[in-house]
């Protein structure tokens, strides 16, 4: 049996409790928020149902504000990805096509499969295929593509010459204002019925 020989890393409660519980929280949040619902994602991409878009916006704004506060106290463990413009654009486009076709992304695909969606399970199988394609084509394609317009692990504050606090304040402020102005209101009929 190969399975018995798999290197599971360090398998003890102290090591596993943390990732399992943070992951558990993330999975539950994805499901409860409706992001792990392909109908909600497609509704947003078709600009007919703004629930998912508003949820993603709050997700990003809260994450940004919280991460900035963490940075002030020196507790933020950041992992900035490099901007290799060609692969980021090409990858974003391919991911976007799959996202718009299925209503799933890697995290929500797994979450939806766990929630009983068989089509999501098939998409997850496709994702394993996609990971394999990436590994197979990598040596021939990716290093050359990454060499085009490589800006390294750049962050917005240094690039734009604006302090992080003003960027965060600006984006969170404008974002919150926009969410507030466009807040969905109950129809008068609903109010009468209630």
């Amino acid at each position: 049996m190969y399975v018995a020989a798999i290197d599971f890393g360090t398998l003890d409660v102290a090591t596993l409790a943390l990732p399992l519980s943070i992951g558990g929280l993330f999975g539950a949040a994805l499901y409860l928020s409706g992001l792990a619902d392909p109908d909600k994602i497609i509704g947003t991409l078709r600009l007919k149902d703004f629930h998912a878009m508003r949820t993603i916006a709050v997700f990003v704004l809260v994450g940004m504000a919280g991460t900035w506060v963490l940075g002030l106290t020196g507790q933020a463990n950041l992992d900035v990805k490099p901007l290799t413009l060609l692969t980021v654009l090409a990858g974003g486009a391919l991911l976007g096509l799959g996202f718009g076709m299925t209503g799933y992304c890697p995290g929500t695909g797994l979450a939806c499969a766990a929630a009983g969606r068989f089509d999501a399970l098939i998409t997850v199988v496709g994702m394993f295929g996609g990971a394999l394609v990436y590994l197979l084509i990598y040596p021939y394609v990716v290093p050359a593509m990454e060499g085009v317009a490589d800006y390294g692990k750049a962050r917005m504050p240094e690039t734009f010459g604006v302090d992080a606090q003003w960027l965060v304040l600006g984006i969170v402020g404008v974002g919150t204002l926009l969410l507030w102005i466009t807040k969905p209101r109950k129809k008068a009929a609903d109010e009468l019925a209630a």
Binding site: L30, D79, A114
Partner: protein, 205 residues
């Protein structure tokens, strides 16, 4: 229209977003930002190593998931550390074993399962309301679901991250790459959604 309706999400948009945002901040406090797509490659890398033979050879020699040579020249080896040897390989830290981020994804699957069960919404299904509204059946849903899955992960790895790693974690860290990634993701997402879902179903408000 009398087809099935798109259901409301279990919680209101701001509460769901707040919960997700706080989870991301917690993850960054404890260890590192959230990310999912890398773990598909980690799982395959570990599986290939376990399968042995030509599979293990492919994995250990691969530029991304392979084991790293400590140093290629004697000069570089002397510069690094006393224990460093020319040509000696060290196991790939990120792709050689199942680590923290892998177990986070396992936890995520469990969390979604429990949330679906306890919200009373766990249900076996093969298609979606939007897909059915455009008159498409379950078989085509699975076929395009598979193709979409391939595109999703190939794209996510090319872009160094998916909707978790690049979009949410990227913006939270003010990564420059989050900007062009978001534009490409939504532009092509909206294009594909328009092609594949021409008819709009009834949506519960």
């Amino acid at each position: 229209m009398d087809g099935p309706k798109v259901r409301k999400a279990p919680v209101v948009w701001w509460a769901g977003g707040l919960l997700l945002g706080l989870t991301l901040v917690l993850a960054i406090t404890v260890k590192k930002p959230l990310g999912v797509s890398t773990q598909f490659v980690v799982a395959e890398s570990v599986a290939m190593r376990e399968m042995g033979g030509k599979y293990a050879e492919f994995a250990t020699n691969h530029p991304v998931i392979g084991d790293k040579k400590q140093a290629t020249t004697q000069a570089a080896a002397t510069q690094q550390a006393a224990t460093t040897q020319v040509g000696k390989t060290v196991p790939n830290k990120k792709y050689g074993k199942l680590g923290y981020s892998f177990w986070l994804v396992v936890g995520m699957i469990g969390g979604a399962f429990l949330a679906a069960v306890f919200s009373g919404r766990w249900r076996l299904s093969v298609s979606t309301v939007w897909w059915a509204a455009s008159g498409r059946g379950a078989f085509s849903r699975l076929l395009f679901g598979f193709v979409g899955g391939v595109l999703i992960l190939l794209g996510a790895r090319l872009a160094h991250g998916c909707t978790s790693g690049q979009l949410a974690s990227g913006w939270a860290q003010l990564s420059l790459s989050a900007g062009p990634f978001t534009v490409a993701l939504f532009a092509f997402g909206m294009l594909a959604a328009r092609i594949f879902y021409p008819k709009v179903p009834e949506i519960e408000r």
